[in-house]
Structures are given as C-alpha cells and as structure tokens.
Symmetry: C2
Subunit: 328 residues, 2 copies
DNA sequence: TTGTAAGCGTTATCAT
DNA sequence: ATGATAACGCTTACAA
C-alpha cells in the first residue's frame, strides 16, 4: 500500500503538502494540488486512518453495544442512532455481547484503546458499580434499559408508567385476572414494569396473585414456556400482559395450538410495537416505545458529550398504547 | 489518559519494559513486572489501540457489511460469523448501508484506512466492476448474495436449485398456477431463483404466465402489495412462492384480511426459514438456508485469507425444504 | 533482563 | 505556498 511519503515523492512535494491536499486546506497552489491528486490516482493511495486517528486522537466513530442484533426492537433504535450519527459525521459500529462477559470486555476494549470515541450502551452484563466506573471514564450514553445509577445519561421510556397504563387499559376492558410474562430477574426494566402492574391492580382494588407472574424472559420461547406453565393452573386468566411483543406472539401461538383463541378466550397484550406485532394474526395490542427517537436522542446526547458539553441529563420519552386485535 | 510513558516513569523503567509486561513477554523479572503492573493499576492505564495497530499494521477486527440489521435472516448469519471470529480472536464490527451509497463508502473507508483487517459483505450497492476492484484490493468475502464476478469468494446456497426444488415441491402438491413474489430487479439471488422457477415449470410442461411474476422486494410490505396486485387479476393462483419469509407473511396477512385463508384457499411458500416463519399462524412452509453455517464458513475463508492463505474458492452449502402449515 | 531508538502513517507547528 | 520536523502511543530490533 502506498503511503503519504510515496505520494510526496511521486509528486515531488513534501508530505505536508500532500496532507494539505488530502484535507482540502486553503493555501495550496492549484498546480501543486493537481500534481498531488494525479500522484494519488496513479498510486491508488488512500490515507491510513490509524495514523490520522493517532495524530488527532479522535476517530469519529462510535460504538453501539447490543446483546444481539436479532431483535426488531433494537434494530429500530439503531436506525435512529445511525441517522443522527450521519448528520454529525460519525460512523456507527455495532458490537454484540450475546450475553457473554468476554464479548462485553472486547467491546469495552474498543473504548479504552480509542478505536471509537464513545458508546451507546443498551445491554447490561456487568455489575452496576463496575459499569458506573466505566461511565465515568468514557463518553457513554445508555439507551432503553434503565438503571439505578446516573453516571451516564439514559434515554428511554418510563417503564413503570407505561406498564401501569397498559394494565389499567386491560382493567378498563373488564380484565381482572391478568398474568404477567416478564423479562427475567436480571432486567431492571422488567422490574419497573412489574411495579407498575402492582400499582395499577392496587389502585383498582384487585388482589395480586403471585402465581400469575412468570419470569421467562423477553423472547418468543418465553411465551411458549409461559403458556405451558399457565395451563397447569386450574383456571385461565382473562388476559396476559407480555413485556415483549415476541413473547406475546409465542403465547398466542401456543394458546392456538391448545385450541384456545385470542382474543375470544383470552386477551394478550404485548410491549414495544415491533413490526411483527402488526404482522401476525391476530395483530398484537401493545405498548409502543418511540424506538427511532430514543436512538436519535441518545446519539444527540453522546455527540454533545464528545464535543465537550458536560454530561447532560437523562431523557424520558413518551410511550403510547396501540390497540389492535389481541385484546377484546 | 495515561500513556505508556507515564507508566514507565511511574514504575521507573523504560517504555520497552512496560510494553513487554503488557504483552506478556517471557523475559521480564518478576519484580519489575509487578512494579509495572502496580503503576498500571494506579494510573488506570489502558494501552491505546491506535498506536498498537499502527505499529503492527493489523487490528484483529473485521467488518460485516449489511444493508440493515432489522432482518432476521442476516442476524443469524452474523451469529455464525461472530462465533467463528471469536475462535480466531477477531472482533466483529457491523456497519449498515441502508441502501445508501454514502454509507457504503464510509464503511469501505474503514477497509482502506486499515481500521479493520478485512470484511464480509452481504449487500451489493455498487456497480459490479467497482466492487470487483475492491475485492482485489482488500481481503473480502461475500456471503449470501451471489454475483457474477469471482474476485472474492462467496459463501451461500445454490439459489437456482433451491428455487427449482421448492417449485417442484409445489407442483407435486398439485399446484400448477404459481405466483412468484420476487426480490426486486436489482437482486441477483432473486434473478437466479426466477430461473429455477422457470426451469421447474418447463420440466413439468406447465406454461409460464408472466403476469404471475411480481417484483416487489424482500420485505413484509412487498407481500401486502403483491396480494393487492394479484387480487386485481380475474383468477387466484393455487400457490404463491415468496422469496422471503416476511414477504410470505405479508401475503398471508393481506389474504386473511380479504377473507381468503391459507392454506385452504391458496398455498403460500416462503424462503429463508427465519424465526418468524415458525412463529406465525399458519406457520410458513419454506426453503431453509443454513444461515449460521454460511456465516461461520465466510469467516473461516476470511481469516485464512488474512493469514496469508491465497484466496479460496466459493462455497455452496445445502438448502432444504421445511414443511409447515402454509402449503396443502 | 533491560534500555535505546527507530519507525508505523499521519497532522500540525514553525520556518522560510 | 511550501518544507522540515516533531509529535501521536506503541512495538521491536539491537545494544548493553
């Protein structure tokens, strides 16, 4: 590969001049400029980003940290991040942890070793305190997943209230016995949503049955498993509130296999308003999160942080209920 | 941020020694080593990757180039890539083009500027010849999307035969009038699959009706649009073969809205065997691609290329038919 | 076992 | 308008 030196030699100028041409500096004679450009052409020269980054101590790249990319919900958030990033001339690189601590460490190494300027983090495979100290050390913004700390700003919805609203909606539709398919013990968003559920039932004087709470995770198979457990109980609830659309869809699927139809026999409510929730039959009534905007705002916070603005506050964006066919 | 110099000073040694400690070199006295490690601790030092990469002229990172991450099909391929990459000590970074030429250029810049060592490309937003010259210049492996050139190896299925087999399967189920929901004019995989369709009909002496071929793309909405166009024709076909599961699901959805049920009134066949094809109602009979293995093999080819092995041949992996409920 | 110093490919400062 | 040259942070001969 040709380097800046080769180009300089070929064009009969100094490396400084070549650098000026590459970076569109004002003060280069038209003649010299074209000579350099010609040399660049013939040598197929392309500046080495590592050298440039090293010198400038910035990369104009940011990292998006996800558990997995096979998740419709996050992919829409990423779109928001990407669009805002483009506007600010950042390149977005996505890394996935797949729930694996080693992968997480590798990704964090990208921050430490300055391969990226900052990160937007949507997964939390790390002890709280450790994560907090990372946030203090590097430009980091959290998206979606809430946490108790505040070492980094977070952009997302109010999980408690969103859940509260959804449950109240079900209650207004005459449901009292409502099963919860939650996101799993480790998830703080799930924890907050459970609190919202409890509060809503309490407000309406409905007793809470702990046997109706299932901690199977945010996946499709969680819905399958949840139904299998639920069917072992002696009475079916009137509704199921799943904390992810795919879980809701898994539930609908298993119910239908068992000859129970939604929404005639039981109502099912999802969460996230991902594309599938509209695609499936019946379409899923769900709590919409403004995914795209969450991503956009997160990137906005990160970029201002990278431009020296002191760490900004967290942002809570509005959720809303989407009525479709799975709740009657 | 502390640099290697600061550590050297703090530990009272040279930078070379610090470097040795960082890289676990053999010949460092235990005593010196622990002194350096202590200095690293107190200074919160972490080596700057840019300097290291610049010196080594390699990054141990590879790029995965996708159109979008909101695609179940590709996310499974990426998993295969990631797992193999981990085994070989590479970090995977994903960039998306979103069909935008500028984004593609940004991503390619990562190759040119040596931010990554090589790339696995699954999108083709570029004139053939231009892409070929890129492939000659950098370590690149293609996955999934076939192309006529061979400047880079490609890992994927035999699209022609896969389609041929699927159509013959439909014919064996008594379908003769089969509509095709294709991937769009620009897609070479779609083109090959159409050829497979034509060949299968020809073999069984079934005349081809050009009016049954729809070029709406690989998306859910393509399925919706396809049905709307199809319903304007005077007679419904006996089957629809969609070149993507999500397109098949879109078709099923629209059909059901129009009171036409699958598979009773019409059969629908998908392609890819993505998770949703199993999740929806009815579940979709489809052509399975070994996504995970495609990703794994692609990474295998890339890594051998990065290790100096001359460019290897393309690999064709087997497809298979998955019978579910959408074809009767 | 350790240190010195060159060099990786840039950019930026300071002369000229 | 252009050129020398010193960084940027690291690794690695080569010397000691």
């Amino acid at each position: 590969m040709a380097t800046i030196k080769d180009v300089a030699k070929a064009a009969g100028v100094s490396v400084a001049t070549v650098s000026r041409v590459i970076n569109n500096a004002e003060n280069v004679k038209e003649e010299t400029k074209s000579a350099v450009e010609k040399a660049i052409q013939t040598l197929h020269y392309s500046p080495n980003g590592l050298g440039r980054n090293l010198r400038r101590l910035e990369t104009k790249r940011i990292l998006v940290l996800l558990n997995t990319i096979s998740n419709q919900f996050f992919s829409r958030v990423v779109k928001g991040i990407e669009d805002k990033a483009r506007e600010e001339n950042y390149t977005v690189m996505i890394c996935t942890t797949r729930g694996n601590r080693k992968n997480l460490n590798d990704s964090i190494a990208l921050l430490q070793s300055k391969v990226v300027d900052g990160a937007i983090v949507m997964t939390r495979e790390m002890p709280e305190e450790e994560f907090a100290s990372l946030c203090r050390a590097y430009p980091i913004v959290c998206a979606c997943e809430p946490w108790e700390g505040n070492a980094a700003p977070r952009v997302g919805i109010d999980d408690f209230t969103a859940s509260f609203d959804a449950v109240e909606f079900l209650i207004h539709h005459g449901k009292e016995k409502i099963a919860l398919f939650e996101g799993g013990k480790g998830s703080y968003s799930s924890y907050l949503r459970e609190l919202g559920y409890r509060e809503a039932l309490k407000k309406h004087g409905i007793p809470i049955e702990e046997a109706l709470l299932f901690q199977e995770g945010y996946t499709y198979n969680a819905g399958i498993r949840g139904i299998d457990k639920l069917l072992q109980q002696r009475e079916l609830p009137q509704a199921i509130f799943a904390f992810a659309d795919s879980t809701a869809i898994g539930a609908v699927k298993r119910l239908s296999e068992k000859g129970i139809s939604v929404p005639e026999d039981i109502s099912v409510m999802g969460f996230d308003n991902t594309a599938v929730s509209e695609m499936c039959l019946p379409s899923i009534t769900t709590v919409a999160q403004p995914q795209y905007e969450i991503g956009w705002k997160a990137m906005e916070l990160l970029s201002s942080q990278l431009n020296g603005v002191p760490k900004l506050k967290s942002i809570t964006l509005p959720h809303r209920l989407i009525q479709r066919d799975s709740v009657k």
